[in-house]
Amino acid sequence: MSDTTSDQVLTTQDGKPLKAALARALRREKLRSFLLIAPLLIFVLITFVAPIIDMLFRSVENEIVSETLPRTVVVLEEWDEASGQAPGEDVYNALLYDLIIAVENKRHTQLGTRLNYEQTGLSSMFRRTGRRVDDFGEVYADQLIDLNAAWKEPVTWATMLATPEWISAQETWAANPSGPEPAFVVSEAARNALPTTADLYGAFARFIQTEDSDSPMEEDPWVPVYKALYQDLIANPDAASAFSGETATLVGQAAAAAPNFETVSIKELFIDADDDWGSAENWAVIKTFAPKFTSGYFLSAADAQLTPTGVELKPEDERIYLYLFYRTLLLSIMITVSCLLLGYPIAFLLAALPLRYSNLLLILVLLPFWTSLLVRTSAWKVLLQQQGVINDFLVWIGIIADANRLVMINNQTGTIIAMTHILLPFMILPLYSVMKTISPSYVRAAKSLGANDWTAFWRVYFPQSIPGIGAGAILVFILSIGYYITPELVGGTSGIFISNRIAFHISSSLNWGLAAALGTLLLVAVLLLFMVYDRIVGIDNVKLG
């Protein structure tokens, strides 16, 4: 046996470091335990953690504005919302192109719904304009066609903007159509000479090919495409030089005629379709929510809003969520306290009784678990309503007059009563399991030392049952703060919780972003309370069994 001093690295017999050898020996074991939990871990990750993270992500996600109005958002950057003036013509031009694509793809209503969360009226603005936007710029179409009937032909547009390769591929395909038409490709030359037209027509062609399964060679372009061409020709009178043959002639002719065209203000067309387009306030909302990520849902969830001047609380009469959070916390605390007051003596009795009786009592405690939650809640409706069993009994024995029947349901009282009943076992069980471990000799010792029954309980028994109280309280509190079905059924309007509002946004208003933000806030609130609780009670003081 070799001597090892403390500053030497311990080694195994064959000279490898002992720590490495130990780690290797343990690695197998660790791997095996990991493999054992892997199925559950993967299951939980896929079915639970990932959807929750995805859902919570919706609380900040805001891609719909920048995805639906990509051109508008870029141009809008330049606009100064503090001016109080609606933005200039260029913004409306961009909006026209974005909107015609959105309308054809039927996405403008979704955008309207999204923006309507922030500013009421925007939904109908988009909806109404969407019905008329395909006529915007008709005057340019008419003038171009008058100038040369070739502009009426789909082929003219396609040959002007497509690459030669696409044209030949299309011809080959047309001669013997099998499978889908080759995907439309915008030529570089056209993109340089007529950027707006190329952009919009490209979108048109894609839409025609994928959504309608038609050929751009056979379909008339959207009316705003003519407006785009006019805009390009004004900006680049020399556009014809990029083209050759018939197309060059055609474009040259149009470029020459364009400056004399009768013009129309797209901005006025929009305002004509809906006055709201002229409001700087609405544009400010669009600009505010243009970024891909937004704090808007969280601010709404906290009854605040993002204004051009910064974050501020909503007007008093529009605040609901802060109060709901407060009420959820308050009611949860009240439910926890009443569970504790009702559960403690039961648990005490359970722990003190001989096993034969305590088992029977325990079964009675667990009995509610065997009945459906809905049945129990509905039973409370029967008991508590104004024509219900309790009121009838109280009237019958004459404690209350028939006219003054107690209102015990569809309000906070109903929620507290029903939820206390439902969550009571979650308080009793941890209390019981902790009390079971408190040896009766402690109380006996206290009594032998001169403490009367109350002192022995309060100074000796009660402090030792605190871990059970802690476990039961946190269990009941966390369960109740997220409770949904019971408040929904017996809470009326004054007894509902924040979770009911979350459910409303998930299933009725479809504002998932706000629902996710509310959920995240609830989660954070619970975690914060948990930390405070850890500070005060100490989480290692909690015993569940």
Partner: protein, 383 residues
């Protein structure tokens, strides 16, 4: 180190002086006490017991013998079904436990885990509304008494078993009770610590002069510490006497069997002469014995004989000499256990002190063994 111990001893001496001056210690009396839990059988059958002030009395017995029940009735945690218990001539059946003023040490100490040692000790003083200053003084004195003076701020869980034990003793004594009950207090300790604690408890008792009622199933503990021992079996006190009497003069075969090691020889009384009798064993061997628990000729009897009283060096003055065959030799250091077959009983044990003698015993040898008449007790027959 030595001087410290000497100092501590001196302190003990002075405290002893203090305590003895006001001669405390309560008298306890059980008066035909009976106890039944189910109304069908008696756990304690007609117990009569007088404990004078200052006595260390041990209730000794196997589990289920009723000794703990007797203690619990005295402490007030179990009501007596019949009879009366007196504390200093005052009936206490209707006094609740917390008003009896009896200190108690529990089997697992029952130190309050959520309080420090000092708080544990202060508890009985607080509920008695003793002033803060006096509390502190008494707590410190009690801690010093059990030599844990600097452990006041620790939690019970931070102490070793022996230290917890001392705290439990200190807590039972801190409010100066006249009577202290101990319910198998050393059961959870290992052997060495247990022996040390036995002496400490004994010394504390001697110093304070309180009455102690001690319950145990460990006969060594009972013999070491007690003034008197009450041997319980089947709800009845089998014998109540000083430790040496208990060992030397067992009154029945249960006590002889329960206290110390014992050789049993069954036989029949064939002659009685005053305090002596002659007994014939199953194989016809006749032995003389001390007549303790036989009334007439023809009675069946069990002879009880301590292994260390049997000698291999027989001489004529011995009352009984018989031949036995050596079956087994077990070397135990200070003595050698010899298992022999004597008069048909092959569980006959002889303890030979290891004096380094030349004469060797061999298994299979048949040798004479002898003992005096007084060491052989004729007791009641074991059924």
């Amino acid at each position: 180190m030595r001087s410290e111990i000497a100092e501590a001893d001196k302190n003990k001496q002075t405290r002893l002086g203090d305590k003895m001056a006001n001669n405390r210690g309560a008298a306890v009396k059980y008066d035909s006490v009976q106890k039944s839990y189910d109304g069908e059988s008696l756990v304690v059958k007609n117990l009569n017991l007088d404990i004078p002030p200052g006595e260390f009395l041990t209730m000794l017995g196997p589990s289920g013998s009723g000794k703990t029940t007797c203690l619990m009735m005295l402490a007030g945690f179990e009501p007596a079904t019949h009879g009366e218990i007196y504390l200093n001539d005052r009936p206490i059946n209707n006094v609740p436990p917390h008003k009896r003023g009896i200190g108690m040490v529990f089997q697992n100490y029952a130190l309050f885990p959520h309080m420090t040692v000092a708080e544990n000790l202060a508890f009985p003083l607080q509920v008695r509304k003793v002033s803060k200053a006096e509390q502190e003084e008494k707590v410190q004195r009690a801690l010093d008494m059990v030599e844990l003076g600097s452990f006041g701020n620790r939690r019970p869980a931070q102490l070793s078993g022996g230290q917890q034990q001392r705290v439990a003793v200190a807590r039972a004594l801190v409010f100066d009770p006249e009577l202290v009950l101990m319910d198998e207090p050393l059961g959870a300790l290992d052997k060495q610590l247990r022996e040390q604690m036995q002496y400490e408890i004994k010394h504390i008792h001697e110093n304070l002069g309180v009455t102690v009622v001690y319950v145990t199933h460990d006969q060594t503990e009972a013999l070491t510490m007690s003034d008197r021992v009450a041997v319980f079996n089947d709800g009845v006190i089998q014998q109540l006497s000083t430790p040496d009497d208990l060992y030397e003069d067992p009154q029945n075969s249960f006590v002889a069997q329960f206290i110390g090691e014992n050789n049993k020889l069954s036989g029949k009384v064939i002659e009685i002469q005053g305090e002596e009798c002659r007994v014939e064993l199953g194989d016809g061997t006749q032995l003389k014995a001390d007549r303790v628990n036989v009334s007439s000729v023809g009675d069946k009897t069990t002879l009880s004989l301590r292994p260390e009283r049997v000698e291999f060096d027989t001489h004529d003055s011995m009352d009984n000499i018989v031949n036995g065959r050596i079956e087994e030799l077990i070397y135990l250091g200070d003595h050698i256990r010899v298992r022999m077959n004597v008069a048909g009983n092959d569980e006959f044990i002889v303890k030979v002190r290891n004096r380094g003698e030349k004469r060797k015993l061999h298994v299979g040898e048949t040798v004479p063994v002898g003992w005096a008449l007084n060491d052989c007790k004729a007791l009641d027959a074991v059924v």
